[in-house]
Each structure stands twice: as structure tokens, then as C-alpha cells.
């Protein structure tokens, strides 16, 4: 049932109807809307009931194990939410003068400082709204840097074949051509392939470390040297930072610029797709180009925001208003609760959970990089099962898991490993839960071999059975126009 089905003409929710006069007589008649907006007119109770029931149809961290690789689905502390929803923060208009905003600005300043420390870089800008926008800020700074140095021909960004889609997409948005390099069978970057790719057109290299294969790139120092020698800069995709918090710092690995995914590493949370925050860390040479605003401290110790005026070489603004402040507040709250020592413990237990699962699952599934130590996540490949007579794909196994009350791992990413699962348990999950997960995956392996139709038609116990994606794209029913969806 759609919310529109609860709607009736004339129905209205009086408690949400402002009482004042609504005199629109000064608006010219030809500007006045006469068509319906189509917004539903339902009772407040029916709205609450509808969305409460809808929400129950989701799997979420608060209800299920959710080992989605590359996404760091860890516990989202309710304390962070409460702290971020304090009226003093929520009710502040972004145009409020700094003199009346020292509370929030002090939080943002502290966060900048802490993040800079964590990434081992010179400065941090909190401006970007998500990881991908952080990447955009990063490549824009790389571009500005080269231009400032008179290098107008550096128009290539190198990315490994295992890179997340946002990396090449961002390179394109930044006006760069993407050059893809290969991964060796052991999961490290193929240095020959890198050598080949590097040239005087190289603007930079974007990588994730640990990589999206869940492996620590052992040649990182060599890679950094090579790129720097070739005149390029190194971009660090911080999506996997959880694995190395307090253990290794991107700055110390040789990276020049990076983004954090605060909604992953600092658990702000995911919200069914967002919002996030993609704060960027910068080495000293990139600081002039940082996206604005930056929080700065005046001589008298008070905080204020710096914009284009104070930072003429900035790549500019990422959003019309300062940043996803509510997300930053949650990240700050989380970081303060976790603390210095806690950061290392996070990395350690995330890696421990991942290696434990890997070890236990080896018996049932093929590990993509069996001889490597996994970091916070690892890859299984189900190619054998998919190519067997059973023809059970990673998708089938993923769907079947849902019936057992487990969210599936990321499937079919990275693209470089066929029929893969990228499994990231995070440090939040107890051993009992991991053991249950192993049991479920073992059972499904059994089913797949003995009765493949079971996984192939899964799921059975969810609000819907398997959905028809092809029909979705063909009919492209993107908005409700009053028609029920006919079967068949």
C-alpha cells in the first residue's frame, strides 16, 4: 500500500496546519498554481503507521548483521544521534554570525584537528558532503596544484582495476582521463603496469589501502615514490580506513590528499543511502587549494569560517552552505567516545573479525586471495558454484542469506573478481554472530549443492520474493500515477 492510497480529498492533518492568515492575493494570477501537487492527504496516524510499517521492511544494523564489504556497517551509537540532535545545533541558521556560533565552530575545529592527526596530513577540510565529493575535491586540488605549477598537460589519473566506481567517475568529472592499471595475482598492484601508465601526463594515482580486495598494498612506499618521481600526486580513498586506524596514517604512507568516509569509519550512520561526509585531508602543498569553508582560529582564540576571500586559491565550494554539519557532529561524538586508544582497538578487532570469518569460511567457499592476510574485509569467489551444474550464482546465495536473517555481503564488487562476495564484518559484531554467519553460509553451500533450486528462488520469507529488475528498467515506473502494478 502506498501513502497515496491513504489519501482522500478534503482530508487534512489539522495539527500540522499553521493557523495564520494565508493571503496570496499579491501574487499575479498567472503565477498561481492551479494544478494539483499530488501530495497525499492522509491522517497523521496513517502517515505514522505507514512509515513505521515500511521501515520494518528494511534490514539495518539495528536489526540484522550487515557485513557489506567496503561499507563498514558498524554500530551507530544512539548517543551520537542524541548529541547531534541537540536543539542548539539543529536550530542554528547557517548565516548566524560567528560570534553567536562558537559552540558549533569549536566542535568543527576540534574535528578538523583530530582528523588531520588521524590521517597524518597537514590540514583537513570538512566541506565535502560524501566520499565521492571528497574525491572530487581531491582531484580538483590535484588539478589546481599542477596548474599552479604550470603543468597544464597532466590530464591522466591512474586507478587500479579493483578501484571503486567513484574513482574513475570522479576523475572524469575532474576533467581527467582514467588510466587503469592491473593487480597481480597476489592482489598487490602490478608495478610494471604502473610504470607503463606513468608519464608526464600523469596527474595522480588514486588508490584505496587496504585495497577493495581487503588486502594491504605492500608496495605502497614504492608506488608512492614512483608516482611522485613521475611528478604525480597520490590520492588516498579513505573508504577502508577502519582497518588501519591508528596503525598506519595515509600521510605517512606518502599520500598527498585523501577523503574520509565519516559515515563509514565514524559511523554517522548510513541512513539508507546517506547523508555522509567526505572530509578531505591534505598535505602541506595542497593546503592553498582546499575547498572552503575551513574553520580557523582568530588571534583572540575565537573560531570563524574562512571563505574565498581568505583563501583565494581555493578550488571553491562543494555545497552552497558549509557542510553536512549534522553528520560531522555525529562523527565528532563518535570519535570522542572512542578516543585515541579506541581507534586502534577498532582497527584490531575489525581485522580480527575479518580474519576469523575468512578462516572459518575457507572450508566452504573459495577465498580469492588465500595466501594473503586479510585486513578488515576479504573476498570469496563463488565462481565454482556458478559454473557447476548447479549454476548457483553469488546473487542466489546472497538472496538466500536474507531468509536466514543475515544481510548479504557486497556482491559482484570489486569487478576484478568474478562472482565475488566482499565480506566486512566490522568490529561491532560479537563472535557468536560471526559463528552464526558461518553456519548459515555453510548451510547454503549445502543447499546449493544438494538442492540448487532453493537458493535460486530465494528469498522466501521477506516482504517480497525476488524482484524483476528487467521489468523495472523496461517499464520505468518511477512515479505513482494511481495505477496498481499489474501482475504478469
Amino acid at each position: 500500500m502506498l501513502i497515496f492510497d491513504h489519501s482522500r480529498d478534503e482530508r487534512s492533518n489539522k495539527a500540522q496546519m499553521p493557523a495564520g492568515e494565508a493571503d496570496l492575493s499579491d501574487l499575479p494570477g498567472d503565477r498561481r498554481r492551479s494544478s494539483s501537487t499530488g501530495l497525499p492527504q492522509a491522517s497523521e496516524m496513517d502517515v505514522v503507521r505507514h512509515y513505521t510499517r515500511l521501515s520494518q521492511k528494511n534490514f539495518a544494523i539495528d536489526t540484522h548483521f550487515y557485513p557489506l564489504g567496503s561499507c563498514t556497517m558498524k554500530y551507530n551509537p544512539r548517543g551520537s544521534n542524541e548529541a547531534a540532535m541537540l536543539p542548539g545545533f539543529l536550530g542554528r541558521h547557517p548565516e548566524t554570525p560567528a560570534a553567536y556560533s562558537q559552540g558549533i565552530l569549536s566542535v568543527l575545529w576540534d574535528l578538523q584537528e583530530m582528523l588531520a592527526d588521524i590521517c597524518g596530513m597537514h590540514a583537513v577540510s570538512l566541506a565535502p558532503a560524501a566520499g565521492a565529493q571528497g574525491e572530487y575535491a581531491g582531484v580538483a586540488m590535484i588539478r589546481s596544484y599542477h596548474q599552479a605549477h604550470g603543468n597544464h598537460d597532466r590530464d591522466e589519473i591512474i586507478v587500479p582495476d579493483s578501484a571503486h566506481g567513484t574513482n574513475p567517475a570522479t576523475a572524469s568529472m575532474g576533467g581527467f582521463r582514467t588510466v587503469e592499471i592491473q593487480t597481480k595475482p597476489d592482489g598487490d598492484i602490478d608495478l610494471d603496469s604502473l610504470d607503463e601508465a606513468l608519464s608526464e601526463r600523469t596527474a595522480g594515482l588514486m588508490i584505496t589501502n587496504p585495497s577493495t580486495l581487503g588486502l594491504f598494498e605492500r608496495g605502497i612506499k614504492e608506488i608512492a615514490d614512483k608516482v611522485h618521481d613521475a611528478g604525480g600526486l597520490l590520492y588516498y580513498d579513505g573508504a577502508n580506513l577502519n582497518a588501519i586506524l591508528g596503525k598506519v596514517r595515509p600521510g605517512e604512507m606518502g599520500f598527498d590528499v585523501m577523503h574520509f568516509n565519516l559515515h563509514k569509519t565514524f559511523s554517522t550512520p548510513h541512513g539508507g543511502g546517506g547523508p555522509g561526509a567526505g572530509s578531505v585531508g591534505l598535505s602541506e602543498r595542497l593546503v592553498p587549494f582546499a575547498p572552503v569553508p575551513l574553520v580557523a582560529q582568530a588571534e583572540n582564540g575565537s573560531y570563524y569560517l574562512q571563505y574565498e576571500q581568505q583563501r583565494p586559491d581555493t578550488i571553491g565550494r562543494m555545497t552552497a552552505f558549509p557542510a553536512n554539519v549534522g553528520v560531522l557532529l555525529r562523527a565528532y561524538a563518535y570519535l570522542r567516545m572512542v578516543g585515541r586508544e579506541g581507534l586502534e582497538r577498532i582497527a584490531e578487532h575489525a581485522v580480527l573479525n575479518s580474519n576469523y570469518l575468512l578462516e572459518r569460511l575457507r572450508r566452504y567457499y573459495k577465498v580469492a586471495y588465500p595466501d594473503r592476510r586479510a585486513m578488515h574485509e576479504f573476498i570469496l569467489t563463488l565462481e565454482d558454484l556458478a559454473k557447476s551444474d548447479a549454476h548457483v550464482s553469488a546473487m542466489d546465495v546472497a538472496k538466500r542469506m536474507l531468509d536466514f536473517g543475515m544481510h548479504a555481503p557486497t556482491a559482484y564488487f570489486p569487478l576484478s573478481v568474478p562472482e565475488c562476495f566482499l565480506v566486512e564484518p566490522t568490529e561491532s559484531e560479537a563472535k557468536e554472530t560471526l559463528d552464526q554467519f558461518v553456519a548459515v553460509l555453510a548451510d547454503i553451500r549445502n543447499e546449493a549443492e544438494s538442492d540448487p533450486e532453493i537458493p535460486k528462488n530465494a528469498p522466501y520469507s521477506l516482504p517480497v520474493k525476488r524482484l524483476d529488475d528487467v521489468r523495472a528498467a523496461k517499464e520505468l515506473d518511477l512515479t505513482y500515477t494511481g495505477e496498481p502494478k499489474a501482475a504478469g
Partner: protein
């Protein structure tokens, strides 16, 4: 450690299973040379009680009881209690992007309803599941229009009456892709773009942006502008406030090809600037050029209605370097809140909120222009936000007003040279007669 459930016994058992003797061994592949130095700026952890004490202090430091009469892109509207009580339910709050459709019907159906509502408000055929905020939504619309433009022009016309910060974001986004964002000046008497001025602009362009209402709160000659752009083969991008759409003709009706805007007025708190909600809607024809997630209604193997992500080939995780945008994480939870908000207030409620806000601004303008030396900056109709001319520079005035508890408006001189005495004011439905009086009194006192 907080949020880590492991007991020592667990850890030992797990290490034994893995076959290593310590957690440290798990990090053995990381070269010693690059191991981190101890962190210096991250303090010891706090428990939740200590955290809340700290955060309450910081939040309280910003509670000055200011009455907000500034809009300028962010509007203080009442947010029904149910909006965030429901939106922060764990099932919405702590879910990921709905990639596993069968386990994400809650989020997916919510998006589908949101798409329907935004399409309805804008009068367009399709809407996406959100972009970051109004500024990037405009930037993405410009890039989209360039992609879609038949004549392959890389030039887009943007009136100066578009929010200055939006224009800055567009500049940050477009430069690298050789898209030229060209400004059109406004008529200083009217505060709008003279449609005739378009005729003076020579050459091809991919799109024209039409803000409605514009940054000054003024109503542009939207239909005339759109018609002129269309005549010259350009696309029309509407940049709108969804609140205004409940009372103004929709972009779909006046000829827009793409409508973008800031969804913040729909139940999102001002939150010092974000997270907000980028809106984008377009025609069926252009939907494959649109960035951002899309949800379609479909059926399951039993023929029952269900919802799933669709046209993912536009997105980075499939199309990579050729994607329509790099956006991945969007503003999901704000989208959920906006959907609940729109459902709660409904068609009539939204019209009423807009109408009362507009009327309050009119009343405010009447009270303020009754003060000697204060007059409307522009002639002509506005929606729920108005530019005034003060008898002296606005900056000093707003500072003095703040000391009297009034956040008095946006000083136009910050963005428009020549408008140093200009002040952009706004009074939403949250303002009482007493609030309006208080502002008038304070202004009279400080002028």
C-alpha cells in the same frame, strides 16, 4: 573499548582459529617503516555521559534565543515531531543504500513515494532519490543539460539572481569539464532578469537557468525566459524552492526540462547548514541523462508489487568513468524525513505553510517599510522573502539587530556590489505577530 563486544576469551579463541598468536600478527603485512606515530590530537575516550555533558555545553553556547528572519536559501519551518521520530527509527537510520532490494523495501518504497511527490511538486515526470543539496543539484543539472544538448554547446547561462553560493558551487563543478557558466545581469529596478536581455546574448547555449523565486525572493518572468531559451534550442533548468511550488506554477507547466532545488524546507532542520537535500526532476525523455539513484516499481516472482533500484547503468558503480556523475552516498535520511514531512502536511498543509509564510513576510515588509528610510529594494511580486533598502549599510544594522535578539536578514552587499544598503528578509509561518513587532521595534531602534 566502547562498541567492541569481544571478551579476552573470544579474542583468544579467534586467534587460535586463525592460527596466529596475537592481533599484532594480523598486521604483519604492513611494512614497519610506515607504522603510525602515536596520535596527538585525539584525546582519551569519553563515556556517553561525559560526551553528552560536553556536547550540551557546546550546544548551549549557541542558544542565544535569536529570532530568525533570515532565509537566503535556508528556511525555518515547523517540523512535525513525527518526522524525525520516525526517520530516526533504527530501520531507516542504520540501513545502507538499498542494494539488496528484497531486504530494503522500506527504503525503496519511501524513495518511490518521494520521487512521486517531487515529480508532483515540480510538475515533471521523474525525480531521483536525492543529490547532496541545492547547489550541487544545480551544478549537476548544468552538466546534465550539457550532456543532453543537441547542439553540443558547453555554455550555460545563469542569471545573477540565482543564489550566489549556488553559482559558486556550479563554478567548482563545471570548470574542469570545460563547461562555461555565463552570468546574465538583472534589472536593478526589478531585481529580475529582463527576458528581452536574453535576445542580446549571441550564440548557442546549452541551457538557461531560471530561479523561481530568485535569490531576492522576486518572481522571474519564468515562462517568457523559458520560451526564449527553448526557441534557441537550449534546455531550461528551473532552480526552485519546493515550498513555493505549492502556490506557484510548476516548472513542468512553464517549460522547464530539468527542475532542481533545495529540499531543506521540507522538514529538514537548518542544522548550521546541513545535511540538506538536493532535489532533481526531469522529463522521461531525459531521465537516462539524470544523475543519482532511481527507484522503480516492479513485481516479484509471485507478481506482487515491489520496488528496486533501476537504470543503474547511469551510475558510477556500473559505468565508472562514463557515469553521469560520481555521486554514490546521497542524502537518504533527509529524503526519508522530507517524504514523511510531505505526507504529514499533505497538499493542503504545504499550501498553508507557504501561504502563511508568505503572508508573514508581507506583514513584516509592511511593518519595516513603515519605518522612515526603509523601502522595498525592488518593485514587483516576491514569494515569502523580500529585499529591502535601508537608509544605511546593512552590515552594521544586522550586527546591532543581533544584539537585540534578531537575526535580521541577509546583507545583500556581501554578494552584490551596489546593494550595500540592501537587506533580504524572510518571516516563515513560525513567526508570530509579537515576533514581527519585535523586529520592527528593534529596527526602528537601531536605525
Amino acid at each position: 573499548m566502547p562498541f567492541i563486544p569481544h571478551t579476552e576469551a573470544d579474542v583468544q579463541e579467534m586467534l587460535d582459529t586463525i592460527g596466529v598468536s596475537s592481533i599484532d600478527e594480523l598486521f604483519a603485512e604492513i611494512p614497519e617503516a610506515i607504522r603510525a606515530k602515536p596520535l596527538e590530537k585525539v584525546p582519551e575516550g569519553l563515556n556517553e555521559m561525559e560526551l553528552m555533558r560536553l556536547m550540551r555545553e557546546r550546544a548551549a553556547a549557541d542558544e542565544h534565543g535569536l529570532r530568525t528572519f533570515v532565509g537566503a536559501g535556508v528556511y525555518e519551518h515547523h517540523i512535525p515531531a513525527a518526522v524525525w521520530e520516525v526517520a530516526t527509527r533504527g530501520e531507516y537510520y542504520s540501513a545502507y543504500t538499498p542494494y539488496q532490494a528484497e531486504a530494503s523495501q522500506g527504503t525503496l518504497q519511501t524513495i518511490y513515494e518521494f520521487q512521486t511527490m517531487i515529480a508532483g511538486l515540480t510538475g515533471m515526470e521523474a525525480a531521483n532519490a536525492s543529490l547532496y543539496e541545492g547547489g550541487t543539484a544545480l551544478a549537476e543539472a548544468i552538466l546534465m543539460a550539457v550532456r543532453a544538448h543537441k547542439g553540443k554547446s558547453h555554455r550555460v547561462l545563469v542569471p545573477e539572481t540565482v543564489h550566489p553560493s549556488y553559482r559558486r558551487v556550479a563554478a567548482s563543478y563545471c570548470g574542469a569539464q570545460d563547461v562555461v557558466v555565463e552570468t546574465i545581469p538583472y534589472d536593478p529596478a526589478k531585481g529580475t532578469v529582463d527576458p528581452a536581455a536574453l535576445d542580446a546574448i549571441e550564440g548557442d547555449f546549452a541551457a538557461l537557468v531560471v530561479p523561481q523565486p530568485n535569490f531576492f525572493g522576486r518572481l522571474e518572468g519564468e515562462a517568457a525566459l523559458a520560451a526564449k531559451a527553448a526557441d534557441r534550442g537550449a534546455l531550461v533548468i528551473a532552480s526552485v524552492n519546493p515550498m513555493a511550488l505549492s502556490v506557484l506554477t510548476s516548472p513542468g507547466e512553464w517549460g522547464a526540462d530539468i527542475a532542481v532545488g533545495e529540499g531543506q524546507p521540507l522538514g529538514i532542520p537548518m542544522s548550521s547548514g546541513g545535511p540538506f537535500l538536493g532535489l532533481m526532476a526531469t522529463s522521461k525523455k531525459l531521465v537516462r541523462q539524470m544523475p543519482g539513484r532511481l527507484v522503480a516499481r516492479t513485481v516479484d516472482t509471485d507478481g506482487r508489487e515491489g520496488f528496486t533500484l533501476t537504470l543503474q547503468a547511469r551510475e558510477q558503480h556500473i559505468r565508472r568513468a562514463k557515469a553521469k556523475s560520481n555521486i554514490c552516498t546521497n542524502q537518504g535520511l533527509a529524503m526519508t524525513a522530507a517524504t514523511i514531512y510531505m505526507a504529514l502536511v499533505g497538499e493542503a498543509g504545504l499550501t498553508q505553510v507557504a501561504g502563511v509564510s508568505h503572508t508573514n513576510t508581507r506583514k513584516l515588509v509592511a511593518r519595516l517599510t513603515a519605518i522612515k528610510g526603509v523601502e522595498p529594494l525592488f518593485e514587483g511580486p516576491y514569494f515569502h522573502e523580500a529585499a529591502l533598502r535601508l537608509p544605511k549599510p546593512a552590515t552594521g544594522v544586522t550586527t546591532a539587530l543581533t544584539e537585540r535578539g534578531i537575526l535580521g536578514g541577509f546583507e545583500l552587499g556581501r554578494e552584490y556590489s551596489g546593494l550595500e544598503n540592501g537587506l533580504l528578509v524572510c518571516a516563515t509561518e513560525t513567526k508570530t505577530e509579537a515576533d514581527l513587532d519585535a523586529y520592527a521595534e528593534a529596527l526602528e531602534a537601531v536605525l
